[in-house]
């Protein structure tokens, strides 16, 4: 009979080690014969669509989900094939991905970082999702991207516009098709200078969070380079609903342009308030007072109604584009759902197809192989002209649209008109300016 020497310190040590082992999420500890996390072994592969299904961006999330469902249908050989018909890469055959039928699970980000991480974790751990995609917020994108990096799955970002997503917070496992704040500023500034002149005094109202800061900085830098002066930049709480106390002092400041670095409900309310105050009817410094909204979304423009008329902004994509890819996507989406797709739907659909194509070209679902196939991948036919998925930061570089609120819309979808398609060369920047490190790709298990 052996004698056990139980000591208080020993029991505590053992307990602590065992506790830490139990507490650690299984995706970070699981050891298996698989070469990477959630390696598909059956006849199907599961993708995770993590979109806002509740909360303020639920309508945008619903449109993203429609796009993903359409993409899955096309990948599995259903429907009219959508953008697979116009995509420059011909690796996709409509027989799933690598011959495996595409299935999907959905999660609700609620536009909250913690909820989005929890739903992504659940889809990876419980449902075996090999890729996570979607979202309508940069905070969520950065949080979920970090989780996917740790878990060893690919993250194909949805609608996220902050420079940080592929800047200081970039990750080797994360990829963004959507444009960013820098590109908005670079595309907008020349149009603003052409239309409003170079001698302007701008007043910025900026949403008090990460996306607001990067957008303000991008627009300020670009417009100041054109000769504009920034009179003031005031941060507004994200929870603000009535912006009257922020808008009322604008005219007193001597500014003749108001830049609203707001998105979603903030944008709808601040723009509505600014128009109510009659700013656009005023003559300041012998010039017509103007308003600028750096990031437009058709769904948000709908919320602001007639207030968007004549107001410049930028957007990633618009259904009225006349290239073959855009026409095809509008046809496929419009026929299935009865209305044109939003830019959120477009970027999500494209991300799903780009991932599937990369897997086909890599011949593997291994995230490192997929990442390699996506890095420095050049493609066309997806609706924004020739596009590069830059390897240095996993950011797509493509044409950026400058749009204006339409004066005489013919329907509730016909709210924006394209003023200019800014070429890629004008919105390209050095990857090092935003800092951050991609790090090494993580295949997980």
């Amino acid at each position: 009979m052996s004698k056990m020497n139980l000591t208080r310190r020993g029991v505590l040590k053992t307990g602590a080690i065992a506790g830490a082992g139990v507490a650690a999420p299984t995706i970070f500890t699981a050891q298996s014969a698989a070469a990477f996390t959630n390696e598909p072994t059956g006849s199907s592969v599961t993708l995770g669509f993590n979109v806002p299904q509740s909360g303020p961006y639920a309508d945008e999330g619903a449109d993203e989900l429609r796009a993903y469902e359409l993409a899955v249908e096309h990948l599995n050989g259903g429907g009219d094939g959508g953008l697979m018909n116009t995509f420059s890469s011909k690796a996709l055959q409509g027989n799933g991905i690598l011959g495996k039928k595409v299935e999907y699970v959905t999660g609700d980000t609620q536009t909250k970082s913690d909820a989005a991480r929890a739903s992504a974790r659940s889809m990876i751990e419980k449902d075996g999702a090999v890729m996570i995609t979607g979202g309508s917020s940069s905070g969520v994108a950065v949080a979920v991207q970090a989780l996917c990096q740790e878990a060893g799955v690919i993250f194909m970002a949805g609608l996220t516009h902050s420079n940080d997503t592929t800047g200081k917070d970039k990750k080797a496992n994360g990829f963004r098709h959507f444009f960013n704040s820098y590109m908005s500023g670079a595309a907008l500034a020349p149009i603003l200078a052409n239309n409003y002149g170079t001698d302007r005094r701008a007043y910025h109202l900026t949403a008090d969070y990460n996306w607001g800061y990067t957008t303000e900085e991008a627009v300020r830098t670009s417009t100041e380079a054109m000769g504009w002066e920034t009179v003031a930049a005031v941060k507004t709480p994200l929870t603000q609903t009535d912006f009257s106390s922020y808008i009322a002092p604008v005219l007193q400041s001597g500014a003749d342009v108001l830049v609203l670095n707001h998105y979603g409900g903030n944008m709808v309310n601040s723009l509505t308030n600014a128009v109510q105050f009659g700013l656009r009817d005023k003559l300041v410094n012998d010039k017509n007072f103007e308003i600028v909204v750096p990031l437009y979304s058709r769904l948000m423009a709908k919320g602001a109604g007639a207030n968007v008329k004549g107001i410049f902004g930028s957007t990633n994509w618009h259904w009225s584009l006349q290239d073959e890819g855009s026409k095809q996507f509008v046809q496929s989406f419009g026929t299935k759902y009865g209305f044109p797709p939003s830019q959120a739907a477009h970027t999500c659909y494209v991300q799903a197809l780009l991932y599937a194509d990369a897997v086909e070209r890599a011949g593997s679902f291994n995230p490192c192989a997929v990442g390699e196939a996506l890095s420095d991948f050049e493609f066309d036919g997806m609706g924004n002209g020739p596009t590069l998925y830059r390897g240095e930061d996993h950011q797509c570089f493509k044409d950026v649209l400058v749009v204006k609120g339409k004066e005489n819309p013919t329907s509730e979808f016909d709210l924006l008109e394209i003023v200019e398609v800014t070429p890629t060369s004008q919105v390209t920047y050095d990857a090092s300016i935003f800092g951050g490190e991609l790090g090494a790709c993580n295949p997980g298990a």
């Binding site: 909360g55 639920a58 106390s245 709808v268 109510q276 769904l299 919320g303 046809q331």
Partner: protein, 343 residues
């Protein structure tokens, strides 16, 4: 000076909304003793009464316009409101343009019915329960109501503009001898302030100068004695709940042109309105109105760029800071009565 006048004006319309919601809240608390966290949802439902009427007025039939194409290249289906067929396009446009003010007539019976149904169907079962239970059940009810609205109307804000006659702003600066454009204020916000003043005055007059109001005030002071006189005070208090719901609903109806309504707008006002009630004094109607305007004006001043440069973030905490100071110096609030919520 012009900046101060401007922020006072700003505070008045913001304070009008706070005061109207807080007035209903404190009315319910003063009569029924219920802390109603679903009151913000009533404000939101009122706003959606305006959205609903606006949509009802625009129910349309489609006419194919061969000369125009839709986004798929098919002939455009033009929506023609039935109201054009009934009244002609010119009159129809005027009626649609005035949808928000017309909604007042629609919202009053709807909100009274919702209020009475809420009180009779759910809240009356919680009169004898602790305030914590009342808060939980009414907060849960608020979430249910906003999710129902989101299900039917979506999560995005829905533009519900003011009539064209009230678009634009009034130049107080020019009128008061300052430089033009220094003090401008939207016409509709002035209408909102005037409307709030009329509603608040109406509620006070109703309670002060009618027999019904006198009985209610007596019931608020001593419920048991009034019941001993053979008066069914419960029935009157139920109607007061309906009245409070209507006040919140009307505040919501008229607020829709200021900010496009969405399902969450009630929650945005709820917490601040509770602070208003507590600062004004639980159960005190004049206190709620006074605190509503006071805190609205303070919030506006705290949002001034000059103030934010010295005290960054003060705009987000000013109301709570003032609430703490007032409650430390006057524990019953500005106009609170002894014995209310002190047992």
């Amino acid at each position: 000076m012009d900046a101060i006048i401007l922020q006072i004006l700003n505070g008045l319309d913001k304070g009008s909304a706070y005061a109207l919601i807080a007035l209903g809240l404190t009315l319910i608390f003063g009569t029924l003793g219920v802390v109603n966290f679903a009151h913000g949802a009533l404000f939101m439902i009122g706003a959606f009464c305006a959205v609903t009427l606006s949509r009802l007025l625009q129910i349309s039939h489609t006419v194919i316009d061969e000369t125009q194409k839709d986004f798929l290249g098919n002939p455009l289906q033009v929506e023609v409101p039935y109201i054009y067929d009934i009244f002609g396009q010119a009159t129809g446009d005027v009626i649609i343009d005035w949808a928000v003010p017309i909604s007042i007539l629609f919202a009053i019976p709807v909100m009274v019915l919702i209020g009475v149904a809420m009180e009779r169907g759910l809240i009356k079962h919680f009169y004898s329960r602790p305030h914590a239970d009342q808060i939980l059940v009414t907060f849960g009810l608020a979430i249910v109501l906003q999710e129902i609205i989101k299900y039917y109307y979506g999560a995005n804000p829905i533009p519900t503009p003011a009539p064209d006659a009230f678009k634009g702003s009034f130049d107080f600066g020019a009128a008061l001898g300052f430089d033009p454009n220094t003090i401008i204020y939207p016409y509709w916000r002035l209408v909102y302030f005037a409307f709030a003043a009329i509603i608040i005055g109406g509620v006070f007059a109703f309670l002060q100068f009618t027999t019904f109001g006198m009985v209610v005030r007596a019931g608020m002071a001593d419920r048991e004695t009034v019941q001993l006189l053979g008066i069914n005070i419960d029935k009157r208090f139920t109607l007061m709940f309906g009245l409070a719901a209507a006040v919140a609903g009307l505040a919501g109806v008229m607020y829709t042109p200021i900010n496009s309504p969405n399902y969450h707008m009630g929650m945005d006002f709820l917490v601040l309105s509770f602070v208003v009630v507590v600062v004004g004094g639980m159960g005190s109607l004049p206190g709620a109105v006074l605190a509503g305007f006071l805190l609205g004006i303070l919030e506006s001043f705290a949002s001034m760029r000059e103030v934010l440069e010295f005290l960054p973030g003060i705009n987000q905490i000013i109301i709570y800071l003032v609430a703490i100071i007032i409650l430390l110096t006057r524990p019953r609030g500005l106009m609170g009565r002894k014995g209310v919520m002190e047992d």
